[in-house]
């Protein structure tokens, strides 16, 4: 941890001597070394792997070569960004000296620190914010291509294979984007300040978790040039075993991303448990912290399984193992179990921090204490606990363990109880509050509406007989968009506007935030209610063309999708224009009571001159006058 402030520092880069290696590594050296390394690994694999795989340990040479080249990219990139300097020093029995630690922390580097392996949590938070925006831009563009295809009467505008690749890539890109959209930018930038810490517990791991995501993206995008991800985001075996080499890009993406998530989860959990300010008891810890910790703590046990599922998938493709091949004693159900043991808790990894962020904002904008803090904690804990016991509701119709359908239906429906607790907390906080109507305030209402629809339709889908009819239809697609986008993304966009002043020192343009809000929310509800209707009428998901009776519903959904697109682009412009030219933000523009609003803008390198001591809860706004 970078804790020394008054130690004299040299000015790296000003020395007449040759700059040390640590100062020469940045995102450009990372991409350069990554590409060179990928080419070298690719060449070596092509040279030394046997042409004739008969009797060899190699099953499919093309996949083996592709995976090895991607591994080359990964090691080259991580070396080029400087992630291995610390571990290499440890191997030599040394560690970074003070100047190097200060350099790693980004001290006095200006904008360059955002392009380096910088350990300052605030820099990492901004890096996460930018990468999240890029990911959403890519995923959103793919979404619009999907809607353009389905908006064409009967669909079928794109080649079926192209359509499948776009759907699969959109799915996994957006899932990753939504997983990191709150814990990444706000969990990193805001959370340590909110608990009164100077940095994360493991700053280098913090930087590592971010740069792992950057390293994971090129293999993913490269899949378009190798046949795409034709399996949908779930990449079921045996579909994945037979898919083109683009599937290897998916596998590499998930493997690297899972490592990033595990690293981030361990880091954030340790930080909150060990580094809260003096006096910040669990009852005085802001609810947003609970949301972030629940999210990453939930990811800790389940993402290793996701990691494992993809390693096994890669082995089935490349070296002839048969983990998922029944002929060799494997099972496709093994993959489905491993995938969904991650896949359903992941929904709550996305949702919980979004709801918690809005619970954090509700007292601020109603000037009331959070209604029933303990109920909120129980709700978060209940969802987290139950979420790892519901995965097989995705597998009712697969034929795996039919006798377990009933128990899984029960656990899934039970989760609506702690979810209802969170609704209760939000409504109770809003009730008779003196509303300060901002875009984040309106987002609380939007979340309640969207999450209600997403939640209720989820209860229907958790019901075994209903799921038998609706499984694989557009109804399912509409349902999970209502939860992940309608609830999750709504919370993330509100968080962006709410914490923008602290992160950038500028106020987010109020008018643009409202325009974006209404374009997105109206477009979203029209689009996905239309999708519910065609799903109920029987339109299957993941199919590029459809019967004429679905034309009208799809046209409506596509037109509304343009409204979402317009709203997101307005928001994007709002980010850029407000960041570069927005009104200067005061230290505490919302008059909030958490510690993050007690530090000046820009936030100093070590956040607090003197570590704070907490003496009261963060929601002491007093009761509203009725």
């Amino acid at each position: 941890m970078t804790t020394v402030l008054d130690h004299p520092t040299s000015a790296p880069g000003n020395s007449a001597m040759k700059r040390p290696l640590i100062e020469r590594l940045n995102v450009f050296t990372a991409f350069g070394l990554g590409i060179i390394s990928a080419i070298v690994f690719w060449y070596l694999a092509r040279t030394f792997l046997p042409e004739n795989t008969e009797g060899s340990f190699i099953k499919t040479r093309l996949d083996a070569v592709t995976i090895i080249a991607m591994l080359g990219w990964f090691f080259g990139f991580m070396t080029g960004i400087g992630a291995l300097i610390g571990p290499f020093r440890w191997l030599l029995g040394k560690d970074l000296d003070h100047d190097e630690s200060m350099f790693y922390a980004g001290k006095d580097q200006g904008i360059k620190r955002y392009f380096r392996y910088t350990t300052d949590h605030k820099v990492v938070g901004i890096q996460y914010l930018v990468i999240t925006i890029i990911i959403f831009f890519v995923g959103g563009t793919l979404a619009m291509l999907i809607r353009m295809n389905l908006g064409h009467a009967g669909g079928g505008w794109l080649q079926p294979q192209t359509y499948n690749a776009i759907v699969g890539t959109h799915g996994i890109v957006m899932i990753v984007g939504t997983i990191i959209m709150i814990t990444g930018p706000f969990g990193n930038f805001i959370m340590p300040i909110m608990i009164g810490a100077r940095d994360m517990a493991f700053p280098r791991l913090n930087a590592l978790s971010f740069w792992l995501i950057v390293a994971a993206i090129p293999p993913m995008l490269s899949s378009f040039f190798f046949g795409g991800i034709s399996t949908g985001w779930s990449a079921y075996a045996p579909l994945a075993s037979q898919a083109p080499p683009g599937m290897d890009g998916y596998i590499m993406f998930i493997v690297i991303f899972a490592i990033s998530t595990m690293v981030a989860g361990a880091n954030i959990t340790t930080t909150v448990v060990k580094m809260r300010a003096k006096g910040m008891t669990w009852n005085r810890t802001p609810i947003f912290i609970y949301g972030v910790v629940a999210s990453v703590a939930l990811a800790l046990p389940v993402f290793p399984l996701f990691f494992l599922s993809q390693v096994m998938s890669a082995m089935d493709r490349a070296v002839g193992s048969t983990f998922y091949d029944v002929r060799g004693g494997g099972s496709g159900w093994l993959y489905e179990n491993l995938f969904w043991i991650m896949g359903h808790p992941e929904v709550y990894v996305i949702l919980i921090p979004a709801v918690a962020a809005l619970m954090e904002m509700a007292p601020v904008f109603t000037r009331r204490p959070l209604f029933s803090f303990n109920t909120a904690i129980m709700g978060i804990a209940g969802i987290s606990g139950l979420s790892i016991l519901v995965w097989a509701h995705h597998m009712y119709v697969t034929g795996w363990a039919p006798l377990l359908n009933g128990p899984f239906m029960l656990t899934t429906e039970l989760i609506s109880i702690p979810t209802g607790m969170l609704f209760l907390v939000l409504i109770g906080t809003l009730w008779r509050g003196r509303l300060w109507m901002t875009m984040p305030t309106a987002s609380i209402y939007a979340l309640l509406w969207n999450f209600m629809i997403g939640g209720i339709t989820g209860i229907y889908l958790s019901d075994v007989p209903v799921d038998g009819a609706l499984h694989g239809s557009m109804f399912v697609t509409a349902h999970f968009h209502y939860t992940l986008m309608g609830a999750g993304l709504t919370g993330a966009l509100a968080s962006l506007v709410f914490w923008f002043p602290k992160m950038t020192g500028r106020m987010f343009d109020r008018r643009l935030s409202w325009i974006a809000f209404w374009l997105v929310q109206i477009g979203f509800n029209v689009a996905f209610i239309g999708m519910f209707l065609v799903g109920l009428a029987g339109q299957p998901r993941r199919v590029d063309a459809y019967a004429a009776l679905f034309n009208q519903g799809n046209s409506v959904t596509t037109m509304a999708a343009y409204s979402i697109m317009a709203g997101m682009l307005v928001l994007l412009y709002g980010v850029i224009s407000s960041w570069t030219n927005g009104a200067i933000a005061p230290m505490n523009p919302w008059f909030a009571k958490t510690l993050d609003w007690t530090v000046p803008n820009p936030v100093p390198l070590e956040n607090f001159e003197v570590l704070p001591v907490v003496t009261s809860d963060p929601y002491g706004y007093g009761k509203a006058q009725s």
Binding site: M148, T162, I166, Y562, L569, V570, Y573
Partner: protein, 229 residues
């Protein structure tokens, strides 16, 4: 109007243009843009009366050295492929006679359903001049199966098995001079866009060999356009 609102509007227009451009590019990026149109062949008496008659000729090869992938076989020279192209266009409400020369060996079908002729006139196809309704599922080289939802009311499903050339009749190099010749006739309905593919697992993949050429358009799958004459 406020400058910032105008700039936001500009961002929306720019973003929309980027997506429209990308969409147009992606939609036009076909695996194989070449289309083989059916040749007119007079009229034919059918169970639906006298209809315009058209013919199509194609072949199924054991690799990509023939077909549409160039003399060197393209990037996957060892992949099985149909030729001369994999996109076909036939008129609506017409009798279509397709002749396929099958040069490849084969083995057992996964699903015996595809060993039976479906969707042709009388449910038959001729194999080397002999009319059959089904073939031995143990020795199928490929199938030609047209299916899919169309924009119009009528749907189309035609599936014909192509028996394997026995291994002992395959030359050590090159193609056999005695391919299996399969001919069948079916009647098209309303205009619409369909897809066709082979249902015999002849591709890559560790599980069921449905990968590679089986999951890549331009090899064992393609488009089948029924258009108004």
């Amino acid at each position: 109007m406020n400058k910032r609102l105008v700039a936001a509007l500009g961002t929306v227009v720019l973003g929309g243009a980027v997506i429209a451009g990308l969409g147009t590019y992606v939609a036009s990026a076909k695996n194989d843009s070449r289309v083989l149109a059916a040749t007119p062949a007079g009229t034919m008496e059918t169970p639906q009366g006298k209809l315009p008659h058209y013919t199509l000729e194609m072949a199924a090869y054991p690799d990509s050295m023939a077909g549409s992938h160039g003399k060197d076989g393209g990037v996957h020279a060892d992949w099985v492929t149909y030729g001369p192209v994999t996109n076909f266009q036939v008129p609506a409400h017409s009798a279509i006679t397709i002749t396929i020369k099958q040069y490849d060996s084969g083995a057992r079908l996964n699903n015996d359903f595809f060993a039976t002729v479906h969707g042709t006139i009388d449910g038959t196809a001729t194999i080397n001049g002999v009319a059959v309704k089904s073939v031995d599922p143990e020795a199928v080289g490929h199938t030609f199966t047209v299916h899919g939802l169309a924009d119009a009311k009528s749907s189309l499903f035609v599936s014909v098995p192509l028996p394997a050339v026995p291994d002992e009749k395959l030359p050590p190099t090159g193609y056999t001079t005695n391919p299996t010749t399969v001919t069948f006739t079916f009647i098209t309905g309303d205009a619409g866009d369909y897809v066709w593919n082979c249902e015999y697992p002849c591709g890559d993949g560790t599980t069921a060999r449905f990968g590679g050429p089986m999951s890549t358009q331009g090899y064992m799958a393609g488009n089948f356009h029924v258009v108004n004459a």
